[in-house]
């Protein structure tokens, strides 16, 4: 009885801690998006969510480490959405592509700070992500789901077998490019208006 009580307490503490971490990450994302990566400081983030700077360091040992954790976080969020799509066995490959584009564009519209972080911070500040985030380890959550999507597509005969990066570059480069243009306010229409066409293009480029 006492054991399960202390276990529940431990779990509650853990949840509290991860919720706190998430709120720090969300605040950081917003500030990076508003003011840029280099201009945002840990004290700025601390002020935004009403924590002391010292307390922030209890969760993230440095700004670089926070930056790495953020990329893992955004990767997990996107990865989770794509996993849900992968697990729907009744969807056709074309439908799955459509849903993936939808998820990406919805995120780019509703939570632009996430996609922006990826494009403007992760891709443009590789020096921040050395060491623990070398190669593509921090975006593993997302990359794995794309790999599974491709493998399933080839296995059922819908997608042409080819080098992973050729297909990945086509898919993600396309989506990233559209998100970038959207972020620069160059696109005449809302990003979601492009979902059908882009999904169609991707499917036709990758299909057998």
């Amino acid at each position: 009885m006492l054991q399960s009580l202390s276990r529940r307490c431990a779990m509650k503490a853990e949840t509290k801690r991860s919720k706190k971490k998430e709120s720090i990450i969300k605040a950081a994302l917003t500030l990076f998006s508003l003011n840029g990566f280099h201009k945002t400081t840990i004290p700025d983030i601390a002020r935004r969510i009403g924590m002391s700077t010292g307390n922030i360091y209890n969760y993230f040992a440095s700004k670089d480490i926070l930056a790495q954790e953020i990329i893992k976080y955004t990767s997990e969020v996107l990865g989770t959405e794509i996993r849900k799509i992968n697990q729907q066995k009744t969807l056709s490959t074309h439908e799955k592509i459509h849903k993936i584009v939808e998820v990406y564009f919805t995120m780019a519209t509703k939570k632009p700070e996430m996609i922006e972080y990826f494009l403007r911070v992760y891709l443009s500040h590789r020096e921040v992500f050395v060491g623990e985030c070398d190669k593509m380890i921090c975006v593993a959550g997302f990359i794995t789901e794309i790999m599974i999507f491709f493998a399933d597509g080839v296995e059922c005969g819908d997608l042409r077998d080819q080098d992973f990066f050729s297909a990945f570059g086509l898919f993600m480069g396309y989506l990233g490019g559209m998100a970038f243009l959207n972020g620069e306010a160059i696109l005449p229409r809302a990003l979601e208006d492009y979902i059908d066409d882009i999904a169609y293009n991707i499917y036709n480029a990758l299909k057998t």
Partner: protein
């Protein structure tokens, strides 16, 4: 518990290369083991019956060992169809053992005429007519060839009346429950994804570039070793999956990939789990594993 009479063993060959016979002959206790039986017929050992007797007389046996692929008609010995002979002995035998991939699943020789040639009870992974008749007595020892210990130990287990647990293909789980990957000296290279780039090195994993099927092949080759000393992967040859129903697959030295991702995962490992671990492993470079184990002086 002593037996008053020895169990009768009949080793009958169909469409075969004799590989399983020669493999079993290399068992260190071949003679001692076989002398515990009354040999009705064996391809190497003498018995009081000739092949003609076996085929044309109504003999009986307790243990029927079948080697080689089968076809209903068109494979005759002494003017009679060997498939009919096999079935008639199987009906009266207590145990029917298919030794080798050919008699179990059809193997290499099934490829010549897949419509008419298959294993005794399975055609690839599909049970056939004979399976319904003999499933209660069937034990499968696929392999190309079967390892001498798989054969010898099974016969010993029958003699000592031990329980033999079988999988869905009737393969003894004590052997086929392992993967050929267990015990491979290249395991660390598999774990850290240090893939072989050339033939002829003791370092490097053969799974990704050289078609090694060990992680998803049911066998204990790297546990008990071949000829007591060796195994394919120990000498830099990939495992070709010879205990499985689909052996030999096409392009044996190549790994089937789906957009660069291995098409077949290690036994029981979900693709998501494998890819996650692989992604992480690949992002680290372990110095020791990227160097030769032995650096000889010139």
């Amino acid at each position: 518990m002593a037996r008053s009479t020895k169990l009768k063993i009949l080793w009958l060959q169909s469409i075969t290369c004799n590989g399983n016979t020669h493999s079993f002959f290399s068992h260190p206790n071949f003679m001692t083991l076989m002398q515990k039986f009354e040999v009705i017929y064996h391809p190497i050992l003498d018995s009081k019956y000739s092949l003609d007797n076996v085929i044309n007389k109504k003999l009986t046996c307790d243990i029927l060992v079948l080697e080689g692929a089968f076809r209903e008609t068109g494979m005759q010995k002494a003017d009679r169809e060997i498939y009919e002979i096999a079935k008639s002995y199987a009906k009266k035998a207590k145990h029917v053992i298919t030794v080798g991939n050919c008699s179990t699943f059809g193997g290499v020789f099934r490829l010549y005429d897949p419509e008419y040639i298959g294993g005794f009870c399975f055609n690839d992974e599909t049970p056939n007519e004979a399976y319904k008749l003999f499933k209660r007595k069937l034990i499968s020892l696929p392999g190309c060839p079967a390892h001498p210990r798989w054969i010898g130990n099974l016969l010993s287990m029958i003699l000592s009346q031990r329980q033999i647990l079988l999988d869905n293909f009737h393969r003894p789980i004590e052997v086929y429950g392992y993967s050929a990957h267990a015990g491979c000296p290249r395991n660390e290279y598999f774990e850290w994804k240090v893939d072989s780039k050339n033939y002829g090195h003791k370092e490097g994993c053969l799974f990704y570039e050289y078609g090694c099927q060990a992680p998803y092949t049911h066998a204990n080759c790297n546990k008990i070793l071949w000829n007591e000393v060796s195994s394919k992967t120990r000498v830099g040859t990939p495992c070709f999956g010879c205990t499985e129903p689909y052996f030999p697959k096409k392009d044996l030295w190549h790994t089937n990939t789906l957009m660069g991702i291995p098409a077949t995962m290690p036994m029981g490992v979900p693709r998501r789990a494998y890819l996650t671990i692989t992604g992480i492993a690949k992002s680290f470079s372990i110095k020791r594993l990227n160097e030769p184990i032995i650096k000889y002086k010139k």
